[in-house]
Amino acid sequence: MSTPNSYMTGPDERGLFGIFGGRFVAETLMPLILDLEREWGEAKLDLAFWEEFNMLAKDYVGRPSPLYFAERLTEELGGAKIYFKRDELNHTGAHKINNCLGQILLARRMGKTRIIAETGAGQHGVATATVCALFGLPCTVYMGATDVERQAPNVFRMRLLGAEIKPVTSGSGTLKDAMNEALRDWVTNVEDTFYIIGTAAGPHPYPAMVRDFQSVIGKEAKAQMLEREGRLPDSLVACIGGGSNALGLFHPFLDDKDVRIIGVEAGGHGLEGEEHAASLTGGKPGVLHGNRTYLLQDADGQIIEGHSISAGLDYPGIGPEHSWLRDVGRVEYVYAKDTEALEAFQLCCRTEGIIPALEPSHALAHVTKIAPDLPKDHIMIMNLCGRGDKDIFTVAKHLGFDMASVMGETTQ
């Protein structure tokens, strides 16, 4: 494959990044998708739109998020100089809000009066419910029944924020089924409803639009690094579920050829079996949820459930731009296993006093693998895209800490 002049010009007018992306949706949705594309095309060039986005990003979300030199971690690993891009400090605790803010501004611009979303771990659901409360729009969140049970605190948060949560029992009752159900809702309520997709996937223009909203991460990081170190970083590392936090960090650096870029997928129990969510390493191209991309699937093209200790990573697909970036060789894709993420999670708590989400713990797991062998003047940015409050129950369980009995003792 030939090397493009720029990696930042995609997608083309059909929504394609190479062979990936596109608009594989039912006819009922097609006019809406075209409408959305038109509106997004206009909003993107409208200074007033970005003024409002930037104002809310600053005053409501708390941007810019700091670029923080993780000194103790750097010492502990003994190699590369590690910086965290601290999107975990955002309001609602993850990068998801950047995208939700952008999309709800667009929904309002389009005169839509009802918002729907899918969620896995509940982070995107919480972020969507949050912006809906902020703008006074009714919000329905589809969440796999299995995830509703696993992520009770986020379910309650969404309720408090006024959202209606619809547990999805169809299929296997996880994120991909929640997305199917959200699409079914959208097909049924085409007139008034805006679907806020939570990652850089789905039919065009979603992958590009979500990337553009999340690119605030990379743009800030670039400016902050230039100010701090007077030069670009040598490498970037981010975790990948659908790929939005990663693309947000990566995209502004894609044409900086000397910056090495690494995406870390969820390796679950390892790639030997089916218990993982590494679509790029363990899947092959297929068509699902409106786009062609790498998918976990069997020989008949049936989709296989992703598995990860992190509910935000266990999606069987990945945004189409990542599929393309992989095939053209611009970004390296690796994976970290559940156990490695758990180790990294604890390391971050111990050395930096930061409880990270399990998702970026995968990115950190990879950092711990490569940083020790890199020179001390190698500068690395890792996207710390979420905080771990939502994960303490899961982690406690895996570490054999009986939270329920401790709570029982203290209340007796």
Binding site: R23, E27, T28, S170, T188
Partner: protein, 271 residues
């Protein structure tokens, strides 16, 4: 090129009645039972058969067809087995048009050219692939037309007149009008609205118009049949399969007859 579908609609026109199109999921509740149902459908009044290809993520389908797909998958149904089923059916029936309906990924993974060749050889006449709008015609629609297979497009209440020519451009066999904005087997089609929509479509195409999604009772079949060239029923038939399973999901004795008898009560309303 005239296909079985063209021939059938010409015959229906000569008879002066609308056609009845029945949908079942291939492999639901298992391969043998669905073959038996399939073989009985023409005699139960199915003028055209739509055979679902199961997929794990049927995003345009309601609960009835989702469950049918899950039953088929649990029974080990695959796209090659669906083609085998068609081949078996064709040994006894060389006239009833048969259309495969489903989602793109299993076809894409099978390989478009290989799939078209195998489907043609098995006796498939047309394809309905829900997640391939005209914007993606290069994928399967154009190759299918070249292979002599009808590619039947869905037109919906959201398809406006600006968009309609694009939707109709590479469509052949008939146009499938989706009578509701929604998924299969949910809201009820409204006769007035459908009549108006069919009229609108007729101004743009000479192809027959079949109407589906939202037709669940014999009365609705009659109502929609009176304003369209054919009425399609899926979820209601599939629910009859569901209703005739035991607590382990196995076919109860009499399932095939129950499904076919029910289909007859629907199809009779158009004769």
């Amino acid at each position: 090129m005239t296909t079985r579908i063209d021939t059938k609609f010409a015959a229906l026109k000569a008879e002066g009645r609308p056609g009845f199109v029945s949908y079942i999921m291939s492999g639901d509740p298992n391969y043998d039972t669905s073959l038996e149902i399939l073989r009985g459908l023409p005699d139960a009044g199915a003028d055209i058969i739509e055979l679902g290809m199961c997929f794990t993520d049927p995003m345009a389908d309601g609960v009835a067809i989702q469950l049918a797909a899950q039953r088929a998958l649990a029974g080990g149904q695959t796209l090659p087995k669906t083609l085998e089923l068609v081949q078996e059916f064709r040994k006894q029936d060389s006239e009833t048009p048969l259309i495969l309906m489903g989602y793109y990924n299993p076809i894409y993974i099978y390989g478009v050219d290989a799939f078209l060749a195998a489907a043609k050889a098995a006796g498939v006449d047309g394809l309905i692939v829900v997640d391939l709008p005209p914007e993606e015609d290069d994928e399967l629609c154009i190759p299918a037309n070249k292979a002599g297979m009808n590619f039947i497009r869905l037109a919906t209440p959201t398809t406006d007149e600006v968009r309609l020519p694009a939707v109709l451009q590479n469509t052949s066999g008939f146009v499938y009008y989706v009578s509701i904005t929604g998924i299969t087997g949910t809201a009820a089609a409204q006769q007035d609205a459908v009549a108006a929509a069919v009229g609108r479509l007729k101004a743009f195409t000479d192809l027959p118009i079949a109407v589906g999604f939202g037709i669940t009772t014999p009365d609705q079949v009659a109502e929609i049949g009176s304003v369209a060239d054919a009425a399609v029923v899926g979820s209601a038939i599939v629910r009859q399969i569901e209703a005739n399973l035991d607590e382990h999901g196995k076919a109860k004795p009499g399932l095939v007859d129950a499904v076919l008898d029910y289909t007859r009560t629907l199809s009779q309303r158009l004769r």
